[in-house]
Homo-oligomer: 166 residues x 2
């Protein structure tokens, strides 16, 4: 799930953190070590995702008393500020990441749980067609689209061409 061009979110890594803290302050919030540590952990994750629990563990390595509920509250705040987003990749917990400048679609294999991302242009026509026919503006990255990856499809084709599990 990791790709290239790691942290070109909005300048260098440190900038992202400082800008986020600045946004919090502008909004009347306070700049705390825990909040900064959560953002830093997400910057380190780069193009990867992290669950709230994983972030809590990471933050705790620096500030051991950090509670998971604080991480949840911080993520909620950062999401309101547009700094982070969460995506549902499957049946497990939400996955968090810095908000991307280029939205993407996530595909998860219903059989092996592998996650693939797709280039935005693949969806461009779809987005405009849906907008025209239904008035909906699609927000691609919030729920993954499930499917079956090439390998699992090949394997399934041999054994049981019946039923469908997810």
């Amino acid at each position: 799930v990791t790709t290239q061009h790691a942290m070109s979110q909005r300048g260098a890594a440190g900038e992202t953190v400082d800008e986020a803290m600045e946004l919090i302050r502008q909004r009347g919030g306070r700049s705390t070590k825990t909040r900064r540590a959560v953002i830093e952990a997400l910057v380190r994750a780069a193009e990867d995702h992290r669950t709230a629990e994983e972030l809590a563990v990471e933050v705790q390595s620096e500030y051991p008393s950090t509670n998971e509920s604080t991480v949840y509250r911080t993520l909620e705040l950062l999401e309101e500020l547009g700094v982070v987003s969460h995506v549902h990749l499957g049946h497990g917990p939400s996955q968090w990441h810095l908000r991307q400048t280029h939205p993407r679609w996530y595909l998860t294999c219903a059989t092996c749980q592998k996650v693939a991302e797709t280039a935005p242009h693949v969806f461009a026509d779809l987005v405009s067609q849906v907008a025209d026919s239904t008035g909906f503006t699609l927000d691609p990255g919030h729920f993954a689209v499930t499917g079956t990856c090439a390998e699992c499809a090949a394997r399934d084709r041999e054994s049981a061409p019946e039923g469908r599990r997810t």
Copy 2:
């Protein structure tokens, strides 16, 4: 969320139920009143969705002692048999329905929770492009795609053109 052509799943309503019970028996399972009642409730739901809890309430009106865990176990069994599917329309509980012969995509408005369905042809190009570029066979109906409906987009445009909530 209800549309026309109610129960043309595979023949008439009763047939669907009998066929499902037959599948259960073929597999070595037993034909019980509770299992039949769950399928009947889904047939009555037609094109609509039901949560496990809603199904439990409905079944309990006929068999009051029915437990929710039995409904979950029945749904799991029926899903393995390919009779029913569940879809995640948003952050709430799974939504269940008879497996459709025509798969569809669900769009949920992240702001007002409204659910729209789209004609499959809108996604046809997407499905083949994704297959070509990634090898994934998309299974459209398992996770809804979120977005913003026309009304909510209009309302948002007036007040806060900033941030993004979901």
